[in-house]
Symmetry: C2
């Protein structure tokens, strides 16, 4: 739905929308390959981005209740995508850690993406790559900022 008005949008914005669609498609494909619901995939993403955390923290980050998180971690663990360990310092607490994809199909999918990206990278000079990196940094920050703004507005 990011394709606005007629066809008069700035090229870079249209390109952004196209890339965004592609990213979402890839995530969906990976999710279905892993046999994960979107909610589980999201939780796994949080674990991957922010590192191991307790079940309580995960509950807070996902806006789920404690009971729901138990079931969530059950499913991730059964799929071999996360591990559950007791915190040695405080044995009431649980440390949930995202596991590196065990499924060879998933690993292969990421490897495929990695080499495809390497081929793309090879087509640019170091100077150009620096420019691209700068754009990606700025765009990423902008998108993240907008997502945060939406979330903040939503809470009001």
């Amino acid at each position: 739905m990011p394709d606005a008005e007629p066809d008069q949008m700035l090229e870079p914005d249209r390109l952004g929308a196209d890339l965004s669609d592609a990213v979402v498609l890839f995530h969906e494909a990976i999710g279905s390959l892993m046999g994960l619901s979107a909610a589980d995939h999201k939780a796994l993403g949080i674990l991957g981005r922010e590192g191991p955390m307790s079940a309580g923290e995960l509950a807070e980050r996902t806006s789920l209740t404690a009971g729901a998180v138990t079931g969530l971690v059950d499913r991730l663990e059964r799929a071999g995508l996360a591990s559950r360990e007791r915190d040695p310092a405080d044995r009431r607490r649980l440390v949930v850690t995202a596991a590196r994809a065990a499924d060879p199909q998933v690993a292969e999918a990421f490897a495929g993406l990695g080499s495809a990206m390497a081929a793309v990278t090879a087509r640019f000079t170091p100077d150009q790559l620096e420019t691209i990196a700068e754009w990606v940094r700025l765009t990423s920050a902008a998108v993240r900022g907008q997502a945060a703004a939406i979330a903040a507005r939503r809470e009001a």
Copy 2:
């Protein structure tokens, strides 16, 4: 989970992963702003990408049964995100069309992203923008290709 091995990955790949996360976050934020489940959001994305289609085609594209699609379109229509019309040529058929976001909050969110992106674009020369556009085109194609490869393998 795209962060591989230690920290020795090529910078552009890490940046890609970061951007990918940001995009997913934004989509999630928009989805929750619209009050849509992930499945509904996905269906809406298909409608947006591929244009209006009959309920049966939508069922095929989403891998849902006909009955489920009726409920899906009910929800989208109630939320003002899609419209239902009978096909004038064959009045048994239904044409489902994605509507431009009616909710002012959603429109505002997209507008916010648009101006943030415009600010990013303003920081580069036309030459640089051409390089960036080329990278985005190639990356988008690569990611799309990988997603298709996964989907194809999945069907085997």
